[in-house]
Symmetry: D5
């Protein structure tokens, strides 16, 4: 099932750059592993902002919750979650 998730990252401006770099690296590895599994189906950067729009394909709400709670950057994020359906006009079989 698909979930539209918008994430805004608010790292404190005075955070130790090394700490920030470390968390970002962990976030990237975490995200790419899930992308390979097909769970994190899409991730796009919102132009000009430290925000992303992602599409997750999860078994159910619990699965989504685990995935998002596991994000290394989670404590610094504002997140909104919107469940998505297959659109009746969609021609993409896989876009359910």
């Amino acid at each position: 099932m698909l979930y539209h998730v918008a994430m805004t990252v608010n790292l404190p401006a005075d955070m130790d750059p090394a700490v920030a770099a470390q968390i970002k690296a962990e976030e990237k590895a975490y995200s790419q592993a899930l992308q390979k599994e097909g769970v994190w189906r899409h991730i796009w950067r919102v132009s000009g902002l430290y925000e992303n729009v992602s599409i997750f394909d999860c078994r159910d709400h619990e699965h989504l919750h685990e995935v998002l709670m596991g994000l290394p950057l989670y404590p610094y994020m504002d997140i909104s979650v919107t469940p998505l359906n297959r659109h009746p006009s969609s021609i993409h079989p896989g876009d359910q």
Copy 2:
């Protein structure tokens, strides 16, 4: 280039059902043609609402503008447009 477009449709409750059905059919045909061209890359229905989230792949802003202004349902829509970049963590080559 990718654009995230959220569309909310507000058809008047007292609209003639036949007129509504006609416009929706035109909208579906219009959308599917653009999907085949690869312009309308994704369209998902927001669960429970008469809203969709779409990803458009357009040459530039003008192209996006033409596409959206041509929507048969446009006069009944609230629309928000957000430009998207390829995310540095994305493993999907085509997701730029």
Copy 3:
């Protein structure tokens, strides 16, 4: 899977009372059938307002979408949908 759905009904003040009564009766029958199936798990009235808060237990997003789109009062509603998980503190086995 559980979905928290808040519904606000805005019937036009000048609607024919008979028409309004008819739609409300259809809505009640529709709701009670789904409650018997266990799909519409809870429905509460927000005190003082023509709003309800409901908990739906659906197979997936598509199922929820069908259920909500079938509401006779749907054209007159503002709806918000929030996916719910079982809470780690919950002692209610059935509250997943």
Copy 4:
């Protein structure tokens, strides 16, 4: 009487993990005791967020107030309270 309570928890990102774990454990014990009493009737996790939606069954507003003010996580919470009625369409005798 039923109250719909939405709680968002904002723990400081730099809080000592041990302190955070301690408060969360107290919160869980506090919640489960009230659930056993039937006061905290439902608690669900909002998927992907550190938020819950709960339904409380209290004698009156004072009782609700005591219960919420006693939450160990209270100082870190944004809370909204909405009184609920039994819905005329509800088939659940206990859902008043």
Copy 5:
């Protein structure tokens, strides 16, 4: 139990003045009857606006709901309901 209720009245500008006057007269009678019962404990006009702030003393949420749903002006109102407790600093015995 006390409820703070804010009511904004939006009568259509083109409403027949006689109809408007009739509804307002019914509203006044309805309100004054409830005030005599002690249910509608306070009603104040918000200076400069067609809004009132009221304090209701009701047995429970159901009672409040009946009272508000019975307002002749209800179809033209935006309403917000906030449950109130006795304040620990209050010296007014009756202000629970």
Copy 6:
């Protein structure tokens, strides 16, 4: 003249409990003195929140301003002020 004042208190979560208790005690004494004078006519606690709704009866705006600025908790408060009139439907002579 009556003023509706809504006050939300945001004490820092890491404030020294003794300091917090001290300010709260001063606030209570300050409020009760004004209640005895009839200036602070009503104070109610918003159920479940560290907020109150109060009705002040002041000579004029300056008087209200002095009263609110003198609140020991003022630096930690979000405040909104709404002037109130006697309502034409009110049967309470004193509720002007």
Copy 7:
């Protein structure tokens, strides 16, 4: 006593121009009479919008309420009212 009142006028786009002109003329006459009395102390147009910002000097809230309710354009207005004090830095004796 001074009140800051912001007024936004929303005349229906399809209103009979003659009716609109008539109401505006009545509004102007009404306003200028109050200005001569010193009640309507200031009226400024918000540049580019059909809005004004006004400062009223009224005996009390009731007086303000009468004045605003008497505005011919009242049914087409969104209004916000803010009580004002003399500012401790003001050098204008009359600006209380």
Copy 8:
């Protein structure tokens, strides 16, 4: 030319009182000098809040900008600026 400027001051609650008093004194002197010049035409205190509403009469936007940027309290302020015109109903020659 006139500008309506609303200023909200948010001094940190834990600011050294002597520092706060110093900045406020500088702000008062700064304001009164501009009032004597006729630039700061009006300043009123919003009743009950640490906010003011002011009317500035400046040569142009640059002049306004200099004036506001020079406010000693500027770093602690939320400011909104609205250009004002002479109102066609105004009888005050000087209120352009």
Copy 9:
């Protein structure tokens, strides 16, 4: 002096197309005349929406007000006005 003006056009969906076309033609002629005068310095279309962002160069607020009030589409517009200064970093002499 420069003003940033954002305009959203909300033509009724059931407006006679001929009437709409006529007003749009008048709007275009009106705008182009002002552009030639250098008053309407920039006009851009917001991609995907019936909105524009414009930069006006006017003598003063009155001039801006006349210009905007003269817009044929004005009755169908939501408008926001923001005064602009020359930016200290700007290298464009004419961008004051």
Copy 10:
């Protein structure tokens, strides 16, 4: 392609003035270099606020993203991005 970017700068009030001056100088140099390239086409100061409105002319979203992420003041900014089209009424050839 053009992008409308609004930037609000929120420097901590207790920032070391020398550090602030340094970052501002870097920001100015960064901006002026991009202005010379024609990428940062316009930059205006919002009168009275530490905000600017800018028009960027970028190859594509990625280019815009690089430019904005490179802003020395970026960590202290709230930013909104709006893609712009050439307006059909524009007489300025270069304003696409």
